[in-house]
């Protein structure tokens, strides 16, 4: 057990009379306090990770049986045109949706941080899109964008803005746009709430000091606001990257992955390989590839941050 090991790392300055036994008690508390969460996470992580890794190096099919194939599955999925398409679409999707979400999240948080009539209504209202299950988000936005009887077409037509219905969901770039709008709608509330909480934690004195120094509003944003919300920006970005990589329900309710493969994402490919094509090995290999991609993304972002931003030593 870890409790008996002497704690490593730099200790906080401590009252002299308590000394090592006090440190030891704190370390033991640390272990005990993290243990429940660790056990819960580990119980549902170790076996699934092992399972996925193990499957990924086996030919695993209920029809063809099971045997070790080394890295064949990885070669299969990576060289498949299916993978390249889906990876490209997913990257395009993430590259647009995540920055849009982060920027809009900051803007909405700044807006909601102002005083204006209806502010509370907006704050409460944004919980609604967030509370809607993703599968239903897809249905709602399908109702908006549908080509033949969608609400947007009906509205624009009634207002005389268009003279024929627009093929939102069967034109590739419009369909991508529609899916990104739906995704943004469902994800923006969380981003905005978290960033708003961070904004409100910035002491007013900092702004006042900057104002006294004669900084413009824009300069105050860069000098005070941005550094203040940086840790939360990191969280939001990381979280949205994960969400963008995992998006599944929205696209399939709205477009069925189409038109063509315009909205077919990697997660659908895993689903199809595993459950539709009954190739559990390929599905697992793909999952490992996606996990590695996500890890690379996140590592790159964390590396770009100052060291203490997440769990470094306290300043």
């Amino acid at each position: 057990m870890g409790q008996t090991t002497a704690p490593r790392g730099r200790a906080e300055p401590l009252p002299v009379e308590r000394g090592r036994s006090y440190q030891w008690r704190l370390a033991r508390s640390g272990v005990l306090m993290t243990l429940p969460a660790l056990l819960v996470v580990a119980s549902f992580t170790v076996y699934p990770f092992w399972y996925a890794l193990n499957e990924s190096v086996h030919l695993s099919s209920p029809i063809l049986g099971r045997r070790f194939v080394g890295l064949d599955n990885f070669r299969n999925v990576i060289t498949s045109p299916y993978f390249l398409d889906a990876a490209r679409t997913t990257l395009i999707f993430g590259a647009i949706a995540v920055p849009v979400l982060v920027v809009l999240g900051v803007l909405v948080a700044l807006l909601l941080n102002e005083r204006f009539p209806g502010n509370t209504l907006l704050r409460a209202g944004m919980l609604l899109p967030w509370a809607i299950p993703a599968s239903v988000v897809g249905i709602i936005w399908k109702w908006v964008f549908l080509d033949s009887w969608g609400a947007l077409n009906a509205g624009l037509y009634s207002l005389g803005l268009i003279d024929r219905y627009i093929s939102w969901l069967t034109t590739p770039w419009l369909a991508r746009f529609a899916v990104i709008v739906a995704f943004t709608w469902s994800q923006l509330p969380l981003a905005a709430i978290l960033l708003l909480a961070a904004l409100q934690a910035i002491p007013d004195e900092l702004y006042e000091a900057a104002a006294i120094d004669g900084a413009s509003a824009v300069a105050r944003f860069w000098a005070v606001t941005l550094p203040g919300i940086r840790p939360m920006l990191v969280i939001v970005t990381l979280y949205e990257i994960l969400m963008a990589l995992n998006i599944f329900d929205i696209t399939y309710a709205m477009t069925g992955g189409g038109p063509g493969t315009a909205t077919s994402l990697l997660t659908y490919y895993i689903w199809a390989e595993t459950f539709k094509m009954l190739s559990f090995g390929n599905g697992a290999a793909l999952a490992v590839v996606i996990a590695l991609l996500a890890l690379a993304f996140i590592a790159a972002i964390i590396r770009a941050l100052p060291k203490e931003a997440l769990l470094g030593e306290r300043a």
Partner: protein
């Protein structure tokens, strides 16, 4: 509030109690999993199957078995369609066979195949399940479902009473695996009034005529006269394509298991090209990802033609809900032979049921015969589906049933429908078909969206077919 104030409150509250509570909390956290397991045991301790929780409040759960008969519980898995009717059928079945209790589980149609793969793979108790023609080869080859005729003598007797297309759908490697839940066709449906208004007096007979009529309708301001259900993730899309190919007198594969899309002049390749050009060259076609969307779109009056599961015509002509009800008609599938795709969805017994022993096999037999066959001279369940829900059927005798005829005549020209049924045929079955179909749909939708050419798409699906054929042993 100041920090000083807080700390002084804190010191006043220090007590042994906190320490005890801390210990309890940690213990609770560490013991979470066994705790949860214990809760589950309570939940699962309901009467019935020893290995699985009850799937629903079963009316017969507490009943004692009939004298002499062993009490048996069956796990029955369906896709979610009219679950209340299924429950009622189960109730009637249990009244007739008091020794048998049936647990029902249901899953959405769109993910049914995936859910069943997961269930079989993890050996979740399942005795009888709905199955479909395009999954049968996989499930049978994986050893998940068993041929009925290996266990029950009465099965063969149903061959003469079942439409050939439906019977064929339930056969894998010469053995019959089920009795039909329902059987239907994928047909060509059109809006008669729109055609008449445009001065077109009869529906198209060939695909060239479909294009011609569509262009005539376009002249009159209709943007997309043809609407189809096309989605990468739904097997329906491949089946609908096959149905159109059948109309031309073609097929997707021959007896030896060669794919017929390679030759550009084959009916299959021609139809592939027709669809792609209808979208990209003639611009007469649009599509939506689900059949329910097609039904609604057709009801806007902005489309005249579609190819769809035939039961949708009942909904199209449903006076209560469809604004244009009454305008929709069936036409024989365009093409040289007017054949079309026919299929059966059916009740299948699982290997898990067989492993449970003769009592369970016997109960499964009674169940499947009651639901899909004839008991006391009646097709209780199939007739009910036909009359109450307009589902098609594979059981020939129902065609002469006055109740069935009366209800069907409300939404379809029954004589024409009989003609189409005679021309319906099932797709040949190969283990790798489902896997290939997934790949095919991807190339199909890419060609339709203009992401690839017809030639490249046909080349690529053929290569995939050959590869799979080799892999899965031909």
């Amino acid at each position: 509030m100041g920090t000083r104030h807080r700390t002084s409150i804190l010191s006043a509250r220090l007590s042994r109690r906190d320490l005890v509570r801390r210990g309890a909390l940690v213990a609770a956290g560490a013991g979470l999993m066994p705790l949860l397991a214990a809760c589950a045991r309570e939940e699962a301790a309901a009467p019935g199957a020893p290995t699985t929780p009850q799937a629903g409040p079963s009316p017969a759960a507490g009943r004692t078995a009939a004298p002499g008969a062993q009490a048996v519980t069956l796990d029955f898995v369906v896709w979610s369609y009219s679950v209340e009717t299924i429950q009622d059928n189960i109730k009637r079945f249990q009244e007739k066979y008091p020794g048998i209790t049936v647990n029902l589980s249901d899953f959405s149609w769109t993910v049914y195949h995936e859910t069943m793969v997961n269930r079989f793979q993890s050996k979740t108790p399942t005795d009888v399940a709905y199955n479909g023609e395009d999954w049968l080869p996989e499930f049978a080859a994986a050893g998940w479902v068993v041929p009925l005729e290996n266990y029950f003598d009465w099965v063969k007797g149903y061959e003469a009473k079942t439409f050939p297309f439906a019977w064929q759908s339930m056969i894998y490697q010469g053995k019959v695996y089920g009795l039909p839940y329902y059987a239907d066709t994928i047909t060509f449906l059109y809006n008669e009034k729109i055609l008449q208004d445009a001065g077109i007096n009869s529906p198209p007979e060939t695909w060239e005529e479909v294009t011609e009529q569509a262009k005539a309708l376009q002249q009159r301001g209709m943007e997309f006269p043809f609407i189809a259900e096309i989605a990468q993730d739904l097997p329906n899309t491949t089946s609908a394509f096959a149905s159109m190919v059948f109309g031309r007198g073609g097929d997707l594969f021959d007896e030896e298991g060669n794919l017929l899309l390679r030759d550009a002049n084959s009916p299959a390749a021609q139809q592939f090209r027709w669809i792609v050009e209808a979208r990209n060259k003639d611009k007469i076609l649009t599509y939506v990802p689900h059949e329910t969307d097609v039904v609604k779109a057709m009801n806007t009056g902005k489309h005249a033609f579609t190819v769809l599961f035939n039961y949708n015509l009942a909904e199209l002509n449903n006076k209560a809900r469809s604004p244009l009800a009454g305008q929709f008609k069936l036409a024989l599938m365009p093409g040289e032979t007017h054949e079309c795709y026919g299929f059966a969805k059916f009740y299948n017994m699982t290997q898990m049921a067989v492993d449970r022993g003769p009592d369970v096999i016997d109960a499964c037999g009674k169940f499947i015969q009651y639901f899909g066959g004839e008991v006391d001279g009646q097709y209780h369940v199939a007739k009910r589906w036909a009359v109450e829900k307009g589902l098609g059927f594979g059981q020939k005798p129902l065609m002469d049933d006055p109740d069935v005829q009366q209800t069907f005549s409300q939404w379809i020209d029954v004589d024409l429908w009989k003609q189409q049924l005679e021309k319906a045929k099932a797709l040949r079955q190969f283990v790798w078909y489902g896997i290939w179909s997934e790949f095919f749909r991807r190339e199909y939708v890419r060609a339709i969206a203009g992401e690839t050419s017809v030639e490249d798409a046909l080349e690529s699906v053929t290569r995939k077919w050959d590869e799979l054929k080799k892999q899965y042993g031909g």
